[in-house]
Amino acid sequence: MNIDWTAFTPWTALAGGILIGIAAAIFVLVNGRIAGVSGIIGGLLRPSLPDVGWRLAFIAGLIIAPSLYGAFVYLPTLKIDPSDATLIAAGLLVGIGTRYGGGCTSGHGVCGISRLSPRALVATVAFIATGMATVYVVRHLLGAGA
């Protein structure tokens, strides 16, 4: 394993991680729910009206975050390398997969592991391993991108 020490940003990663943990903590202790982004968005496609308000409010918070943060500090680089076609295909897979798997990086990865849920741990290992395998195939076997 060859760690890229120039790219590794442990302190901002830790600070950001703690904020994400605080957000998850507020959500479970006040709203009584799991801060799982795929579940919160996916739930809007179900016909259960009383839930629409807080779901949209959560998504609005995520969307406004860069504008609010950017008003005070420079935003870190947002770099999106894949082609439009790849992003569309990937978006479909992420949409279908997270709903079948019952969660994503936030619901299973952060909240589920914090709850010590074996189900969430299995899901997290599965999507991280598959994500790594996919990048390996794309970058090192097919040789696309750097």
């Binding site: 830790l14 978006g91 990086t105």
Partner: protein
């Protein structure tokens, strides 16, 4: 309840700022973590570690409580089964995550910058979720047992629970 929406907005905002500070909203950064055979950037692991360190305390407190800090019922997931659905779904998600470097949270935050590529990804992701709903509803219509299972989702359960007076949800989470 409007109160829920206010807290949900604040949660989304803090969550989003966490994803920005940690640079996890940038797909190149995430792919740097997934690229273990190349020059590996372990940052994502530190992000998860920090989040789980705080989360583990919060969920331990939540697990002991029958109601939230504002007296409303807890809505914890009830699913415990490790089945093919969980694993295949996570594998399909992992392929998409590897291809794009985006998972749902960071994609929505990146959408907030107005980046067109983030918009394309989010629209496709919502379409994917819609396809899931259509398949599930069709299955539910075809097989009564599946229908019963599909309708007994935590969402449906929650919808009922929120209409009960407080305190009646004592078995919320043990």
């Amino acid at each position: 309840m409007a109160m829920y929406a206010v807290y949900a907005f604040v949660t989304g905002l803090i969550f989003g700022i966490g994803l920005i500070i940690s640079e996890m909203y940038s797909p190149a950064k995430v792919q740097g973590f997934l690229d273990v055979a190349g020059k590996w950037d372990p940052s994502l692991l530190v992000v998860m570690g920090g989040a789980v360190a705080v989360g583990i305390v919060a969920f331990a407190i939540a697990g002991r409580r029958k109601t939230t800090l504002i007296g409303t019922p807890m809505h914890m997931p009830t699913a415990r089964d490790i089945d093919l659905r969980l694993i295949l779904g996570s594998v399909v998600f992992g392929i998409g995550w590897g291809l794009a470097g985006f998972c749902p949270g960071p994609a929505v935050v990146a959408l907030g910058t107005g980046h067109v590529k983030a918009f394309l990804f989010v629209v496709a992701m919502i379409a994917g979720m819609g396809i899931f709903e259509l398949i599930e509803r069709r299955r539910a219509g075809a097989k009564p047992d599946v229908a019963a299972r599909t309708h007994d989702t935590p969402e449906r359960h929650r919808a009922h629970a929120t209409h009960k007076p407080r305190g009646s949800h004592a078995k919320g989470r043990g």
